[in-house]
């Protein structure tokens, strides 16, 4: 069986054709780089996405701080992760790259700050 999908690894958005059997990719065409193959393979088994959101901050110049998952999160666990992240309140200052939540939901994925937050 074959399936078409758009690779979301970068803004190029290559249109991939994936030939698969029993949910496993046998061949991938249409990709411009090797990330397209990796994307198609995980997309067929366990689709993942980068998660970016904000975390509440106490005593900072702004009330929220942008954060991201340091690795792509399984798509099926996005909303579960959001609930954990939205329950966290940090104290300013926070530095870009700081780990905000370690090993979220036991996935081995850390949530890290993507900007500095100075205190008022």
């Amino acid at each position: 069986m074959a399936k078409e999908m758009t690779c979301v690894s970068c803004p190029l958005g290559c249109l991939l054709t994936v030939v698969f059997e029993d949910g496993k990719a046998l061949s991938v065409t249409g990709n411009s780089c090797k990330r397209g193959i990796a994307y198609a393979e995980t997309e067929m088994t366990n689709p993942t996405r980068m998660l970016t959101t904000t975390v509440k901050v106490r005593g900072g110049v702004l009330p929220v701080l942008p954060v991201k998952s340091d690795k792509p999160v399984p798509k099926s666990r996005m909303f579960e992760c959001m609930r954990v992240i939205n329950a966290v309140v940090l104290d300013a200052p926070v530095h870009i790259g700081d780990v905000v939540i370690k090993d979220i939901l036991g996935t081995g994925i850390d949530v890290i700050a993507t900007n500095d937050m100075t205190s008022v």
Binding site: M5, T6, C7, V8, C10, P11, G13, L15, G30, R49, M50, L51, T52, T53, T54, K56, L62, P63, V64, P66, K68, K75, M78, F79, M82, I96, T114, N115, D116
Partner: protein, 413 residues
């Protein structure tokens, strides 16, 4: 050198000018922080071309802000430029310094763009709360930390609209649909996949909002399909209950200062007409970033700003200012505009011509012709108006050109 705007364009232009030997540089920024719109673009996807890694907006900006802080470039935030005169005297105001006049040898315009507001659209209805541009909602959610609504309809499928569809969904809102007037989306395909398809948000093409309902707060919108002449198809009107309408219906380069100087604008890009170093038709005034042409990727803003920074430095230091002979590249079939609009053939360096196509093309070719000879002919699986393209005019080709040479970029279907 005065740089107006401390977003990605202003930052890169200032840094490059410093590297080229400009001694006194000042960056004037209206907001209270540097970074421009990147500060609220917390999603990732920035920097793949420039840094070879996927960064969020604030992370991308941070790299340049850090570099800038290591230099003696002067930064003035909370500072609004209110005019530039014919002698390149820049007038600015700030709460800290009051009214200032800065005499500049060169000015780099890096003011960015703003979103087309509701007032520019012909939507019937009163003016209840809950109608705003997607970028305004993005600021509310990502910087101010509050959600502007619970049930959302988005008009326009530009990238900011798509990104906000996902962002609002993740924060618990119900995004009912994204309506797009055109028969195709103006956003990147990857954003349609990861922002709409992932969350089962319908994208309704050839569809628009014709009426808003509610007096104090938005209570719903009427959507309807349109035909190929963008006329409402009778009988397709449908009421959609919502408390928020986000508009992602285009970006307009912010060229008030440019116009005041009498600088000619390109009627298609909405930005000034520039040469290959991004010098406008006013000598010593350069432009880069979204004030020049609306970009999809910040990486290209950085590259463009570096050219403007280098051009401004050359102008100040008197390098490469010998006789200039300009040719004006022409838009052939399928090409809506070209930036730069003119090229100095005495400046022997590779010139990238950036353009957008006027419709979606599949398996087409991008052809560059000089004096009727095909210089390059590149196959493209897909060309779309939402994605900026470029074609390279090599230094050696430029060197062989004459004053009356014709450069043409076209799409071969």
């Amino acid at each position: 050198m005065v740089v107006i705007g401390g977003g990605p364009a202003g930052l890169a232009a200032a840094l490059r000018a410093r590297d080229c030997g400009v001694k006194r540089i000042v960056v004037l920024e209206r907001a209270d922080t540097l970074g421009g719109i990147l500060e609220q673009c917390i999603h990732t996807g920035f920097g793949l071309h420039y840094f070879g890694e996927e960064l969020s907006g604030p992370e991308y900006a941070h790299r340049f802000i850090e570099l800038l802080q290591k230099t003696d470039i002067t930064v003035m935030t909370d500072t609004m430029v209110i005019g530039i005169d014919k002698n390149r005297v820049v007038t600015a105001v700030s709460p800290e310094h009051g009214l200032m006049k800065i005499e500049a040898k060169a000015v780099v315009l890096a003011m960015g763009c703003r979103e087309r507001p509701r007032g520019a659209l012909a939507i019937a209805g009163s003016r209840p709360a809950g109608i705003m541009t997607a970028g305004t909602a993005q600021k509310y959610v990502n910087l101010d930390g509050y959600m502007p609504g619970k049930k959302v309809v988005i008009l326009g499928s530009g990238d900011i609209g798509l990104i906000m569809a996902r962002r609002m969904t993740l924060e618990g809102a119900e995004v009912k649909m994204v309506c797009e007037l055109m028969p195709f989306s103006g956003g990147l395909t990857r954003n349609i996949v990861q922002c709409l398809d992932d969350f089962n948000i319908p994208l309704r093409l050839s569809c628009t909002v014709i009426k808003t309902h509610g007096r104090e707060r938005l209570e719903g919108v009427t959507v309807a399909n349109v035909n190929e002449r963008f006329e409402v198809v009778p009988g397709t009107e449908e009421f959609v209950e919502c408390d928020t309408l986000l508009l992602s219906v285009g970006l307009i380069p912010e060229n008030e200062l440019t116009k005041e100087l009498g600088i000619a604008l390109d009627s298609v890009t909405g930005g000034p007409i520039v040469d290959e170093m991004r010098q406008t038709e006013f000598e010593g005034v350069f432009a880069c970033g979204n004030v020049l042409q609306v970009h999809d990727l910040v990486d290209y803003v950085t590259l463009e700003a570096q050219l403007a920074g280098e051009g401004a430095a050359n102008y100040i230091l008197g390098n490469n200012q010998a006789e200039k002979v300009y040719v004006r590249p022409e838009c052939g079939l399928g090409v809506r505009y070209l930036v730069p609009q003119k090229i100095n053939i005495k400046n022997h360096r590779d010139v990238k011509l950036y353009f957008r196509v006027n419709a979606i093309y599949k398996n087409a070719r991008v052809v560059l012709e000089v004096d009727g000879t095909v210089i390059s002919n590149k196959r493209k699986v897909k060309l779309a108006p939402g994605e900026m393209e470029d074609v390279l005019l090599k230094a050696e080709v430029l060197a062989a050109m004459r004053e009356d040479s014709r450069v043409l970029v076209r799409v071969d279907v």
